[in-house]
Symmetry: D3
Subunit: 168 residues, 6 copies
């Protein structure tokens, strides 16, 4: 890991890092977060096929579309061509977000490009999680997004990284 903030120049001014000399390689990033909610809210989302389809389907689409436009939300992110995006929403393992009911969001983004897709994966997971909030806020205003985090990064000069302690 570097020990300086690469997005700032030598005088502390923000710029977009030059990736022109980096190699085009296959890169994959996975990000996760949990949407913590009342048990009743989780039941409303997951009970019944049709309803489940639309809350989760809307969140998946929100995540996929946000990944494609990550460079608009994150000022210094590079626009880049995305090969694939997958957003999965599943009931979180019991106790995974400090107790209580939760949905786990996992976003996987792949590219062949000169820089990684950390921000694309994080933006996708976040947009999907906030979309669940939006659709359920009338019944559960206190919902939170917990632990938005990168869990895996493959490809590029630094090779493979996995967050310690994170289940596959």
């Amino acid at each position: 890991m570097s020990d300086r903030l690469t997005h700032l120049d030598e005088r502390g001014r923000a710029h977009m890092v030059d990736i022109g000399e980096k190699a085009v390689t296959h890169r994959v990033c996975v990000a996760r977060c949990e949407v913590r909610m009342a048990a009743e809210t989780l039941a409303k989302i997951t009970e019944g096929q049709v309803t489940k389809g639309d809350v989760l389907a809307t969140a998946r689409i929100a995540g996929i579309q946000a990944a494609k436009r990550a460079a608009e939300w994150i000022p210094l992110a590079h626009p880049l061509p995305i090969d694939a995006v997958r957003v999965d929403l599943t009931p979180a393992p019991a106790g995974s977000s400090g107790g209580g009911a939760a949905l786990q969001v996992e976003a996987t983004v792949e590219t062949h490009w000169r820089t990684g897709v950390e921000m694309e994966a994080l933006v996708a997971a976040t947009a999907a999680g906030l979309t669940v909030y939006d659709m359920c806020k009338a019944v559960d205003r206190g919902m939170t997004l917990e632990s938005v985090r990168l869990v895996e990064k493959r490809g590029g000069k630094s090779g493979t990284w996995r967050r310690p302690g994170e289940p596959a």
Copy 2:
């Protein structure tokens, strides 16, 4: 609070809720999250005037711009005219995010419109937090966003709500 998911119709299909009959009133929402990081990373961000200026300034701008376009991130959110946005980033109170160093992001959004600005405030806080991640990820890949949450909602038919236990 309602007990059904208002963004789904009677057959479970997503739609944009009709706000045509709601009153135009002054509405304010405040959202927060913490960006948990290594103590060394926090020091890099907050030490030195110039550097601090640009990391935090970039995150503030990211949050403000995201608030204006929340309806593009969140599929069923209404586009609405925003009166004001303020995004503050401050070192988090010790222990506030489960221990360790953290920046607290607080986003406040105001409007005169027919619906609340929960999503605008949440999107602003998230985009600001992820921008800090982006600018610091080369030195601290393990940073996380903790507890993205609505902390206050004023205006509209349901009146004022404050998250229990949240400091002002």
Copy 3:
């Protein structure tokens, strides 16, 4: 109806029509189109709950999001605040689009504003229909969108209009 092209000035140059003096009233527009396809394709979309959920849910979201951004796709359209959007996709009545299987898309958009939402409704119906094409093109490249049309317009100075011969 007018007898000149209001989007051109007296010298034939495009401009955005001035709506400053028009009244803010409740306005509703409904647009429709049919996505004509092989009977096997329609069966793939509508058979099975889960699959149906995601093809149609994705198209609904595409339509809703496109309605919100109609002023970006249509150069002279006014940006305007939308109260409600509903996009429905249903198997088309037999023979409705010149024979063969078809999905009917219906988009309804409402606002309280100074100008109508014809373009929002038409853009929503089109984006939803093209999204069905995108998701099914690997099995049925010959699918077409038929008869993208305004079917109803309510509110504003010209009052209510319904397309002759169109079922409710």
Copy 4:
């Protein structure tokens, strides 16, 4: 042609298809539609040089710009770099759209990329056609877009396809 919906995974959930292993080749797609209108409307558009310039020029620009942003309209479309876009609007051959006057819109999009540009061409043709509607709706509200269709696809593993019965 495939016999399953590639944009859905094995459990029917939408995702963005992985194109990472596909070859970068030269790909071209052509799409068409007809804008059916009253004969008087067509005369207004095509009579007089200046006026004609601006209605058709505006529609061309709308189509070109929409092609560049097709991945924003169509949720599961890949963002991709476009080499060229051409949008032509010409009076349709007599009888080509079921009788009556019509403009034919033809959009051609080219890329060197890992996936085809069907959606870019269809979105371009549609946006151009709807822009004609927008600019003429004050004189002819009943205008329709007919038969939005892919007419040609070249490049990629499946090679060249032309819609049967379509004139060059």
Copy 5:
């Protein structure tokens, strides 16, 4: 005029100014710039009806569309509903931009809202001017945009302002 930078708070941090208490009034802004170019370039643009139509029509559309999205280009600008936009491009009066040939761009934007449309008018004039540059750069790389400026502001608390020395 104020004597402090209203877009910075008391500690120098950028925020979006609160316009919630300002009155909704009719507001108009006009901005201008000149595109200075070789005389041969100006002749290419203005000679011949058809060509003229498309260079100038494209620039007009670029200006109108940019006005609608000014809040995306200018970080602290408020999104606002626009009533009307007009972009005119005319050969500049001899000597108006320091000698040589030039096109003058004039953009007029109107709204009924709580804040002025200075930025919308300036962004429209600039986008139109840069579009002329883009379309002519292959023949005249040295073209410049001169004196991008607000020339008139009407409405709001500060009333009418006209730039001294500017012709109507």
Copy 6:
């Protein structure tokens, strides 16, 4: 240099130039403009570390983000992947913009692609300059953007070009 307008076809209609046969090479463009303002305004911007940070930081971010989306501002520009963007704002050399105080904006954009980044650099410089205007307009409405210009272009078939008389 060419002697015809490449963005118009043989009949004068706008299209997006086909770059499919051009080589992918390293290309760099630099653009500049001056923001002319009252001496008091320049002092307000540059006095005091914190304030300076936020006006200039906001303008830098505006420029970087606009460069990434130049193809949305400029209708016939190609979307392209950007390697690096740098936006610098410095007090202009005395007398550089016809007398008076001024900030100079310089934007540098790099890519490996089939076409140059002139428009990206020009759009970046302009957006940064207009953002300074926006943030200071309450104290100095008469500010202008002077001489928006390409100053350097490297890479591609035509090789290196520098504007005559421009300091490095």
